[in-house]
């Protein structure tokens, strides 16, 4: 076990941004932290990389309790490296950036040179060794930042949204690097993403985070709304003053609601009139998701529905089609 986390919280002012009762990370595995923006992924990574102190709770690294108040954190940081979402390179050459970690570890010059070129090869940036680091593109910067972290031979690498700011080509390269460093070097990898497919594709384990807490699955189609009661006593959630979604809840006032894209259904609009939980909308995007089809439908609010391959074959829809989106009660969760 590389990390064991217990009752971890991080509070800013009166806002608790992280609340994790328990989390265990196995050695040598790839973990994906999946959650929407603001779910506490980056905060958790910064705590696990010993850059930030938690408000309460305990972390054990390699079965040893971490004392955040002590100066030995620097020693731990030499084993756990983090690559930020938008990494910044020092104002010098690519070579000197990658060399930095080795230089401060007082590695001999020849060995430094060998390691720098090894890791630059690994990320496909050898030809850029003498280039000015600030003249690289976003994807190249991300790759050099990965090389810079790898040069330090860490036991764990934490990646914060490694592909969120890069083009498709660099995305594929970075995903490959992430896999390779785990398989070839046995480095434990933890990365954050809000892309479910990426998490599934790259990780051995997925940890879902929502509003700073571990969740049983990732919440999608998340909206803020308010719980109201109609004249007949039925309860519904009013979303963005546009959509009235029937709900069964004891909660009142402002809530956050999630609609499960796998249990919501799409029917041709002309087949049946919309009921209480049916909404007419227009298909605005269709994407392949591992054989299934994800449809983004504008029903006044954008809602994503995952259509199984067979179901899609039976009732295919095209972008621009008018459709009926059914949100059965089991697809709606107040979170």
């Amino acid at each position: 076990m590389v990390f064991e986390v217990e009752n971890l919280t991080k509070v800013y002012g009166d806002r608790k941004v992280l609340d994790i009762p328990e989390l265990r990370i196995d050695k040598g595995k790839v973990y994906g932290l999946l959650g929407p923006n603001g779910s506490g992924k980056t905060t958790l990574l910064e705590i696990l990389s010993f850059l930030m102190q938690p408000t309460t709770g305990e972390i054990a690294y390699n079965a040893k309790k971490v004392d955040f108040s002590r100066t030995y954190l620097q020693g731990l940081r030499r084993e756990v490296a983090m690559v930020e979402q938008q990494p910044i390179l020092f104002t010098t050459s690519v070579y000197k950036n990658v060399e930095f970690g080795l230089r401060i570890r007082k590695v001999a010059k020849e060995r430094r040179k060998q390691t720098v070129f090894e890791v630059l090869d690994l990320v496909g940036m050898r030809d850029f060794a003498q280039a000015s680091a600030h003249k690289l593109s976003g994807g190249e910067t991300q790759r050099v930042a990965i090389a810079r972290a790898l040069a330090c031979s860490p036991k764990v690498i934490l990646f914060d949204e490694p592909t969120s700011n890069v083009d498709i080509e660099n995305q594929i390269i970075i995903e490959g690097i992430l896999r390779d460093i785990n398989r070839q070097k046995g480095i434990s990898v933890i990365f954050t993403t809000h892309n479910r497919m990426q998490a599934t594709k790259l990780s051995d384990h997925i940890v879902f985070l929502f509003q700073g807490k571990p969740a049983s699955s990732v919440y999608e189609n998340i909206f803020s709304g308010s719980i109201r009661r109609d004249d007949l006593g039925g309860m519904y959630c009013l979303i963005h003053d546009k959509i009235m979604l029937p709900v069964q809840t004891a909660k009142t006032g402002q809530v956050t609601i999630s609609i499960d894209p796998r249990t919501a259904k799409v029917l041709p609009a002309q087949d049946s009139p919309p009921g209480d939980n049916g909404f007419v909308g227009r298909v605005v995007q269709l994407t392949d998701e591992g054989g299934d089809v994800r449809a983004l439908i504008d029903i006044g609010i954008p809602i994503s529905v995952l259509l199984g391959r067979e179901a899609y074959k039976e009732a295919p829809v095209l972008t621009g089609d008018q459709v009926l989106v059914i949100c059965p009660p089991k697809s709606i969760e107040i979170v």
Partner: protein, 231 residues
Amino acid sequence: MDLLLDSFISAILLLKSLNAEVLTIVLVSLKISSSSTLIASVVGIPIGFAIAFNEFPGKRITVTVLNTLLALPTVAVGLFVYAFISRRGIFGPLDLLYTQKGMIIGQVILIIPIVTTLTIAAISRIDDRYRKSAMTLGATTVQTAVVVFREARFAIMAAVIAAFGRVIAEVGISMMLGGNAKGFTRTMTTAMALEYDKGEFVLAVALGLILLTISFTVNLFFNYLQGRARL
């Protein structure tokens, strides 16, 4: 207009002749200004760095006080130091009044707030990701500080140049604490003030030209360094 043009032409001729008096004045000016800038930098840069790099109670008020000191008039500093180093002052026995050392003390007091506040501004503008990157790569606190300092080096250099510009062009402290003694404490600015009083514009204009040339050369060198760094 003729007066200015004649003075300008005569000043150029004076400079071409490498007049000994002019050379002495320039050398004294450079010596005193460089010394005070060096001392103020050695003191002000670490203080500015420490204030910017650390969080402590009273940080904002400290910065506010330093910012206020930027507007310190040279005559106020002159008077203040005079009170300490004149014969009746507590440092009177050290015989610092009307010496180059006395002038340097006054100028250091004048520009420490400049170097410090501009260093604080330089460090504060540095993206916090530099600090985090250095730390996550295993740097110690000192090594992290060096990384941040390196990133801020040109802005800090600009702070030093601004301080140098302030002292080489000031007249109040030099006059009050140096006394404008020929060949000893006479600087370009005090000499210019004296020549103006005498109605002798040629030397004043010549010294003015040298002052501007020095400022221009220093800034040219700074721009060259910045340009090289961007390559």
